[in-house]
Amino acid sequence: MKTPLALAITAAALALSTAATAQEPQRGGTIDTIIQPEPPGLVLGMIQNAPTRTVAGNIYEGLLRYTTDLEPMPQLAESWEVSDDGRTYTFHLREDVTWHDGEPFTADDVVFSADVFHRELNPSARAVLQHVESIEATDDHTVVFTLTEPFGPFLISFEAGTFTMVPEHLYAGTDFRNNEHNDHPIGTGPFKFANWERGTVIELVKNDDYYEEGLPYLDGVNWHVIPDGGSRAVAFENGTIDVLPSGTVENFDIPRLSAMDNVCMTEEGHEYFSPFAMLWMNNREGPTADKRFRQAVMYAMDREFAKDVLWNGLGNVPLSAFGSNARFQHDDLEPYDHNPERARELLDEMGYDGEEITILPLPYGETWTRWAEAVQQNLREVGINVSTQATDVGGWNQRLGDWDYDLAFTYLYQYGDPALGISRTYLSDNIAKGSPWNNVEGYENERVDELFNAAATAFPDEEREALYLEVQEILHEDVPVGWLMELGFPTLYRCDVKNLVTSGVGVNDGFKDAWLDR
């Protein structure tokens, strides 16, 4: 079911693409946009949080980019080859690339970045690198990755945020975290770091020596820091802000802002992350340890209501553990519809005695709080005795890390491949205290482990698909976690900002192609 708003987006996106092709890009102009929250630093790889990725993705680059369908596009690597056994990947680098300080970019930078820098600092890159046996620069502009075994999602791991290229000549042999260049990041990207007025603005300026002919069109991008959601909306309304990246205004503001004259909206540009909202359910103890209880929770929740009321009809309600932007989604499972009757039956069947359970909302803003309130009310209406525990980010982290919860909201990125973004939630060897991002629910199923592990290293894709379909069926029955929604995070912008979203990570690397029709 699509709401009118969702339809409007599609229409706007269509209009955008036709308009974009029809017009000759103009040069010049600065775009004012928002970064929320203020990032802790801008050195990608050293810091992997979302705001750093968003800003620094325009300063740094990876070997590849990805389309909105998550197909790889050339970036620093102009071409690449995969061996037939799926174990050797050869990247041919562009030869005309220089760092912002004028030094040339070479294969040695790639080897340093991957083998030294990321291995030491970057946990998400480490997850990929554990499959890599060796990284060699065969000449100045060729790099060969040899894997220990085939790894399905390898080619999708080179996005700038995950696998950024950092300058060897500035970092090699230094204490990375205290490197003096951290304050003034040096990348290869279309924009250079200019200034950071903490608490106010991060200013990026055009890289005049950028290797892609004619790019970027813009003179610069200003990332404003405005801590209050309402104020951010106002800033967009009164015209000081041109672009609202996804998640920077409250969902409730979106219908109003998108209805303004000369404002366009796109849902594209987050396919790579495709955030998947879930309800952790503690599989270890309490009522939530019972499969029937977890199923009852799924039936009790009115997920379509949440989508329509809280998410403006954007995003979609998944059948099971795999979202639409992950590959290998199973589309023939019985949906967990809003069915309070069925939920009550299941609760009766298991003999739920009214034991009180708690629900931990995600402390990321109003929408999430409202969502928790709605779910709490849904659960109460089928007779589950539930109360909300408020926490801030610190408390939330600690409770999840210590498994001290019954139900808890979260959302996870899918990273374009089940082996990167999904299996981590269900693999039993991923059960470890201290992190809110692993198998927090404590689900253990040998068959699921086998299937996920086999699928990650199976080659080619057809083999992977069969394994993933089976795993989805098991998960659908067991309900280790509650699958809430694949979130729709639209980007709002003035319609005179053209060609803004050109990749699966949206504005994270999108300003290089953007131009202003003013």
């Binding site: 998400s124 903490r198 608490g199 106010t200 200013e203 801590p227 309402g230 610190g394 991002w437």
Partner: protein
């Protein structure tokens, strides 16, 4: 000389108080659930044990609490506030970065509220039991009773969105490249809404206090003496009533001035004012202990500085204190 000794003595006491505050806050924050490493890991969206251990070791969180406390306190003794966990920047630099904005905001609001409050309060005192006086007091009461953040939201909606007169957020127009007088003007424009919002509540307090204090002072014998001299009412109000009525206001204002820094948290959040109030709230949510402690230290120091200033001003205003010591 008297002042020098007074200030010296107060500073000495202040050091002790600050020392206690550091310890108190340190222990308080230790009680908070979640540590900065976990939050940083959380922000990164992915983390393994190695990553967490690296962070904890880097921040010294793997040490027992008393070691951490000792390190922190001895650092402070050398005016070393450590590094912000999240931002990786010296805490001192961060605070110094943000402090001017806070001082500008609270300073303006303070002066505004004090001046307007005293004027309104004197007017209300002079018009006691007249409709105009009651109106002033009613307004003051309404300002006092209205939640600060509500005023902030409403003023943005009205003055920035509908009327478009004033900027809604920030310290200056980013990218406008203003310098010199243009920059001053720009900042002043940005200052209007947050400063007024913050000032309204305090203005209400001063208005009420001034009125009460003036009415009290007007009852005093020396005012009768002044009238018996044949002085004009204006002169009596100014020279005899107001001057004496101001004494309790000085004390109150001194207390408020220190508290304003904390009270600015809401205003700074709504108006995206890059001050330390907002920094504090962010630091708290991110368990950025060093930063949080640093801010607490500085805001407490500000309170103390304001108290000392208040004392000195009070002594200047009231000759009796000087004579007594």
């Amino acid at each position: 000389m008297v002042y020098a000794r007074l200030v010296l003595m107060r500073l000495f006491k202040a050091v002790i108080v600050l020392f206690l505050i550091v310890i108190f806050n340190f222990l308080l924050i230790q009680m908070a659930p979640g540590d900065p490493a976990a939050i940083l890991a959380g922000e990164a969206g992915a983390a393994d044990q190695e990553f967490l251990d690296q962070l904890r070791e880097r921040f010294g969180l793997d040490q027992p609490m008393y070691v951490q406390l000792w390190r922190y306190v001895s650092g402070i003794a050398m005016l070393d506030f450590g590094y912000s966990y999240r931002l990786g920047v010296p805490v001192f630099d961060l605070i110094m970065d943000r402090l001017p904005a806070t001082l500008l905001l609270t300073g303006t609001a303070f002066v505004l509220s004090l001046v307007l409050g005293i004027v309104a309060g004197s007017m209300a005192a002079a018009r006691v039991k007249k409709p105009s006086g009651s109106l002033i007091m009613a307004l003051a009461l309404v300002f006092y009773a209205t939640p600060l953040f509500w005023v902030a939201l409403m003023s943005v909606v009205v003055f920035s969105v509908y009327l478009g007169w004033l900027p809604a957020y920030g310290l200056y127009t980013v990218g406008a490249g203003h310098t010199g007088f243009a920059l001053v003007l720009d900042v002043a424009k940005h200052l209007v809404l947050p400063a007024t919002t913050l000032a309204l509540f305090f203005m209400a307090i001063y208005t009420r206090m001034t009125r009460t204090s003036m009415l009290d002072a007007a009852q005093q014998d020396y005012v009768k003496t002044a009238r018996a001299k044949g002085l004009k009412p204006g002169t009596i109000q100014r020279r005899h009533v107001l001057r004496n009525a101001l004494l309790p206001i000085i004390t109150l204002a001194g207390l408020q001035a220190g508290q304003m820094v904390g009270g600015a948290i809401l205003t700074e959040t709504v108006f995206a004012w890059p001050g330390i109030g907002r920094l504090m709230f962010e630091a708290l949510q991110q368990r950025d202990y060093n930063l949080l402690l640093g801010i607490f230290f500085f805001s407490a120091a500000l309170v103390i500085v304001f108290n000392i200033i208040t004392d000195v001003v009070y002594r200047l205003a009231d000759p009796r204190i000087k004579g007594a010591s």
